[in-house]
Amino acid sequence: MKFGIVVFPGSNCERDSFDAAVRALNEEAVYLWHQDTDLQGVDAVILPGGFSYGDYLRSGALARFSPMLNSVRTFAEQGRPVLGICNGFQVLTESHLLPGALTRNTSLQFLCRQVALTVENTKTLYTHQYTQGQTITLPIAHAEGNYFAQPDTIKQLEDNHQVVFRYAEDVNGSINRIAGICNKAGNVLGMMPHPERNLWKQTQWTGEGRPLFDSLYTSILKTLASV
């Protein structure tokens, strides 16, 4: 199995995502350079955290125009898994692969801390190894994680169970304490908290972010088997 991790100039969590694929799951991973278009036959794409293109203009706003993102868009439209973490989530909303926008935290400050999240939907590619309503702890590290969308969009997200992770308490002003959402088809997930930064405990790969990657792994295995 092969994971593709997109590297924009200014990405800074590509190695953290590499840990998830290569060291936690023991699978292959390749870095996908923003100016290339070849997805190299990967089974899933991860848009990592960081400050793509310096986050100039708006977070994620310039990344959507990169050649690689065109390929990722096609990949997503084919129903293949695309996971955006932190800046990756911002890139996904800017690219309209996910609805809504991520605006400045209500504190107007960068906020780095561990947060409690509830897993709201365990029927996705990414979450079936969690239990419904389970509380997990993941770190956040962002200045723009305040999720916003029009009321009808929020209603659709809630009605379709597209809110996958919710903060246990308000941390950044997000509507309905939304921490992560998926698209209607469920193959594109964007989340502000970092599952790839809670992968290990001491020397064991048993962190609370691990089941997300295990879920993705078994989902891909199933797809591969059915082809």
Binding site: G10, G54, D55, F110, Q114, T137, A141, E196, Q202
Partner: protein, 763 residues
């Protein structure tokens, strides 16, 4: 006629911060008068900031060698060997003056500069720390401005460190009136490198091309190094063009592209363009390599048209590097930089004449021996063993308890509340939660303040190694102010204790000497004895000094800061050790004090709280006892005999004890531990014949607080006896947030102290 010229020259020299004697020295060496461009170069390279002319002879006294030292002072950063081919580069640097006039950019460029020092050595940056000293932000006439300076500096550090993707794992904040108008921002960074692949900075190979890499050269930061070597006054705000502007995005690209370019093997040496820009990096590379360098300024990428030679030479535009390449492989290296969108252009070559020469519009505008700019820069010895001023002596000789009536047992709760509401004791969470502390996935422990951050080291290729490094910065400037010699020793000892508290072995030091104007005898006295103190302590702990930074002239309107020789230290944990933490773990655990406990009110936070001034001798120190106790603490941690370890620091015994009942880990909600303490301090008080306030709030060196399971007590006590370290059981951890100091005493609620601790330093 002669007089007019001389007056003009005098004025020019004054503006350039050069003395007439220095001008004479330049002229003598050149055999002619320097031209304006050359004079500008001397102005920056002979500034205190670049050549340490007032401190160089003192710094030579510091121990710099040890079995683990791969690189001591003299390169961009020091390097220590860890094991299995892994090495760590680290250094601290100040950005005080820029922060005083433009806090956001001043602080960001401080972080950017220190990171360049690290990756220039071919080390990937893995950790940042920041040691901050500002004027009080909650009271006093400058409170509003201090708050602005402080919060903007913190935002600047966050902005830069977060964007480049290097976790900020520790540091400290300290507030005192003496830093109003002249705050201190000391940034420390560490990076990892493998298989001794150190990049050096000396120019090599006559005829080899010199590559300019990074951002375009603009007019920002003109003469910043000279600016940093002056006292600040009301007019300093007009110096804002001397402050550089940082762009962490450019830096991030520079990090990635440089590390990739170094891997090609075609980069023979590299130097970042920091203070004094092109002038400094060119001259230093040439001088270090015993070569010359010829650079054509017309080839240097410029941010704006019609830049003068002088402006190219002295610009301190950020995120730029200079490299010497293996001739014939220029394109391969340039291609790597192009991939990352980083400008890279050949601007000159290495020559055999040991002179640094610059061409501008086809004409040679500078031609001076490189070593005259660097190695031969002036060094001023202001006399050995300078005398203490009468004023300082009188202050030090006052009784620390003078004017202070002792407190009653019934008042302890309210004093605790007041102390936890002091800026220097309150929890700086508002600061540290703005820093990304986990990026890179290696943070084992992120320290908030005055302890150590711990970062796991990876093997080459990225697999876990069994090693991690602990990092800390520390210095109590009050102790140094009252007694520079012992105060500096205390700073080294405190940094060592911070490392020992997590279980780490102290390896090496990088120091940042922040002082006032050394031309004043009182300041030179402080500097001289602080260096003596660092020397003595570093020898005792066997922690060589691998470099650092000197920042003098930290004065505002004629008043000097409290001297702050900030000690940055790196320690080692092996065998996949889990770092120990300071918090008490569960009710029923027993608590003891170990080590040399000699508290005094002299220079304490408590004395300052009550008297609004500090006086008397600060805590004494026994380096022998420190070394012995440190070894014991590390042994207790390694043998899993203790549940928690902290040292006794600011605020004294009781503040340190109570703080350990608060949850300090940002990962969890504060105030939830619900733990308290049942103490019995009567024996200790009687034996040391201390007043109650001196016992509870006096500050001391050499002491640690440990907690352990009751059935471990005998083993812990035995280990202490064998190590000849005093062991003093103090009581036990309770399951509710209350405190008693003796068995029959009414319980003191810790809630209001906790509230103060949490809320005082919110930003």
């Amino acid at each position: 006629m002669m007089l007019t010229v001389s007056l003009e020259l005098q004025q020019t020299l004054k503006e350039m911060n050069l003395t007439e004697g220095e001008y004479q020295k330049i002229t003598n060496h050149l055999g002619r008068e320097p031209n304006f461009n050359e004079l500008g170069m001397f102005s920056v390279l002979w500034s205190e900031h670049c050549c340490y002319k007032n401190s160089r002879h003192l710094l030579k006294k510091l121990p710099t060698e040890g079995p683990r030292i791969l690189q001591g002072p003299g390169e961009n950063a020091g390097v220590v060997a860890i094991g299995d081919g892994i090495a760590v580069a680290f250094k601290i640097e100040s950005h005080n003056h820029p922060t005083a006039v433009e806090p956001f950019q001043g602080a960001t460029t401080g972080v950017g500069g220190i990171l360049r020092d690290i990756f220039t050595m071919n080390a990937r940056p893995i950790a940042n720390l920041n040691s901050l000293r500002f004027g009080p932000i909650n009271a006093g006439e400058d409170a509003q401005r201090n708050r602005y300076l402080f919060s903007r500096a913190v935002e600047g550090i966050a902005h830069y460190g977060n964007c480049v993707g290097v976790p900020t794992v520790g540091g400290e904040v300290f507030f005192d009136e003496s830093y109003s108008g002249n705050p201190l921002v000391n940034a420390m960074a560490a990076g990892v490198l493998y298989d001794d692949e150190l990049m050096e900075s000396g120019a090599v190979g006559v005829g080899n091309p010199v590559l300019y890499v990074g951002s375009d050269t603009g007019k920002d930061g003109m003469g910043g190094a000279a600016f940093a070597s002056r006292e600040l006054d009301e007019a300093s705000n007009e110096d804002r063009p001397a402050v550089q502007v940082g762009d962490p995005f450019s830096e991030k690209l520079l990090i990635e592209s440089c590390l990739e370019a170094f891997q090609s093997g075609y980069v023979l040496s590299a130097q970042d363009m920091g203070a004094a820009g092109l002038t400094c990096s060119g001259a230093e590379m040439a001088a270090k390599g015993n070569k010359g360098m010829l650079i054509d300024l017309d080839k240097v990428p410029a941010r704006e048209p019609d830049m003068k030679a002088y402006e190219y030479l002295l610009s301190e535009s950020q995120e730029r590097m200079l490299m010497v390449l293996d001739k014939g492989h220029e394109q391969a290296v340039i291609d790597i930089f192009s991939k990352w969108g980083v400008p890279a252009v050949v601007v000159g070559e290495v020559t055999d004449d040991e002179n640094i020469r610059f061409l501008y519009h086809g004409e040679e505008v500078v031609n001076v021996p490189a070593k005259l700019l660097t190695d031969l820069a002036p060094s001023y010895k202001r006399g050995a063993e300078p005398p203490e001023s009468e004023r300082a002596k009188a202050l030090r000789n006052r009784d620390p308890e003078e004017g202070l009536t002792d407190i009653l047992l019934s008042e302890v709760g309210s004093w605790l509340e007041k102390l936890f509401g002091q800026l220097n004791i309150a929890r700086p969470m508002g600061v540290f939660q703005q820093y990304d502390r986990h990026v890179q996935n290696n943070t084992l422990l992120a320290s908030e303040s005055n302890t150590s951050g711990v970062v796991r080291l990876r093997k080459k290729g990225g697999a876990f190694s069994p090693y991690s490094i602990a990092l800390t910065t520390d210095c109590n400037p009050r102790y140094v102010y009252l007694e520079p010699w012992s105060g500096a020793k205390s700073a080294v000892a405190e940094a060592c204790r911070n490392l020992a508290c997590v279980g780490a072995e102290p390896l090496a030091v990088t120091d940042n000497l922040n002082f006032g104007n050394p031309e004043k005898p009182e300041i030179y006295y402080q500097l001289y004895y602080a260096v003596e103190g660092i020397k003595e302590a570093c020898e005792a702990f066997q922690t060589p000094v691998t470099g650092g930074n000197v920042s003098l002239y930290n004065e505002h309107s004629g008043t000097a800061i409290y001297p702050a020789p900030v000690i940055g230290m790196v320690g080692l944990l092996e065998n996949n050790a889990t770092p120990m933490t300071p918090q008490f773990k569960s009710a029923g655990d027993e608590v003891a004090l170990i080590g040399r406990f000699k508290p005094t009110l002299g220079g304490s936070e408590y004395q300052f709280l009550r008297q609004d001034e500090i006086y008397g001798r600060p805590p004494t120190i026994s380096l022998q006892d420190e070394v012995r106790t440190l070894a014991l603490v590390r042994q207790l941690i390694a043998e899993s005999q203790v549940q928690s370890v902290s040292d006794v620091s600011l605020g004294g015994l009781l503040v340190s004890l109570v703080e350990n009942t608060f949850k300090q880990n940002l990962s969890e909600q504060v105030g939830e531990t619900g733990l308290g303490l049942a103490l019995n301090l009567a024996d200790l008080q009687a034996r040391e014949s201390l007043r109650l306030d001196a016992l509870l709030f006096g500050e001391t060196n050499g002491s640690y607080l440990i907690s352990y399971l009751p059935d471990q007590k005998a083993a812990v006590q035995q280990a202490c006896e064998e190590a000849k370290v005093a062991f003093e059981p103090l009581g036990a951890v309770l399951d509710s947030p209350v405190l008693t100091l003796q068995p029959d005493q009414k319980e003191i609620s810790l809630q209001s102290a906790l509230d103060q601790w949490r809320t005082t330093l919110a930003l």
